[in-house]
């Protein structure tokens, strides 16, 4: 990769003049995202807490999506994934995504099942 850096983010919407200004630009973006997360976490708007989407509060969906956005920019711009070959990028990114998605799916389904056993089964736990 040498010294060349790809300097545009947001799919070319913003292009920086140098690598250093790009770093500061990404910092500002990440800070804004974190500030939004914290503000939502403190205020907890009713319509976001009350609305459910695929079994989870809309607010939690927003948190998780914003987290993935932050993870993307940390990996792509701070860890220079943007400048690596696509082979390396795909090997590093898709392997955990595939494995972790499977783990999440299987563990959360199982946990929900156990929750229902506690709830509906003849198990006394609240005494």
């Amino acid at each position: 990769m040498g010294h060349e850096h790809k300097l545009e983010i947001f799919r070319g919407l913003v292009k920086f003049k140098s690598n250093v200004t790009k770093i500061w630009g990404v910092l500002i973006f990440l800070s804004i995202v974190t500030a939004i997360e914290v503000a939502l976490g403190i205020t907890k708007p009713d319509f976001l807490v009350g609305t459910y989407f695929i079994g989870m509060k809309l607010l939690n969906w927003i948190f998780i999506i914003l987290t993935l956005v932050k993870a993307y920019y940390i990996t792509w711009d701070f860890m220079h994934m943007r400048d690596e070959k696509s082979n390396l990028r795909r090997a590093v990114v898709w392997t955990p995504i595939f494995l972790v998605s499977y783990l999440i799916l299987i563990l959360l389904f199982e946990a929900d099942y156990i929750y229902n056993v506690f709830k509906d089964g003849f198990v006394t736990w609240n005494f």
Partner: protein
Amino acid sequence: MDTAVTTETEGSVWGGGNRPLGASYGKLMMWFFIVSDALTFSGFLCAYGFSRFKFIETWPIADEVFTHVPFFHGNFPMYYVAFMTFVLIMSSVTMVLAVDAGHRMMKNKVIIYLFLTIIGGAIFVGSQAWEWATFIRGDYGAVETRGGRILQFVNADTGERAALAEFAATIPDERAEHERKNGIWFREEGSLTTYTVNEVVEGFRSNPNILIRTETINENGEKTLLDRKQSLERIKDAKLVVEGANLIRNEYGSRLFADFFFFITGFHGFHVFSGVVFNIIIFFNVILGTYERRGHYEMVEKVGLYWHFVDLVWVFVFTFFYLV
């Protein structure tokens, strides 16, 4: 970085000249480590999700647990963790600036930025230690029932949480902590709580404005508050006084909550600590001119990858422990 040894087989695919990933050995190995470590952390966080979904109706609400900011009194959920997150992101920025300065062989800039990164890391580890200490100390105290449920107390007049000290009765008794020096030398017990169960129960009975809050989360996403009659019935189950948190029980609710908190933030904190140590080693190497003589600053880049990864993990820990 072109650090791989160039031989005459360069360009010949079967001679090993093919470089499908286009990265040096060292960087590639760091990526290997990061992927495996990411899977380890994912395992922990998924296990946390498992326990949380299992006890979805009774899990502690993070906003009510992490409410402290150093040097300030009052209820400030999230502010301090947000500050910690910002410190870590900021130290990531100084690290990537150090890497960038390394590419341009500007030794003095690398030194300054690495120094700032180390300071940021130290602030973060210190903050986490403070967070742990506050968590372990606890603030209101609670009682545990026979079934291991946590009962917390609320002042009916104000609606605020009531600390045990506000209402517990004082019953003089002879119970002293059993220490090693008394009796059989290898037997000792953990420190006694400030109040005994009897003192809490008596104090609760004689204070009509204290209510019990159970672990169960109602449809408004808040912990269920019992009325006085139900509370008097429920207090009969009290078996233990719980103050603060340890690996066995905690005053915040589900036992697993504290276990996962200690385990995941502890494992992450250990990573940050190791990262600071690596940064310090690299920092001195830069000062000594090791990389200047080597002709490239790839070591800064490799340690930088690790440092950013630690930041990346924190972003997820922050979301799943404090926000969701």
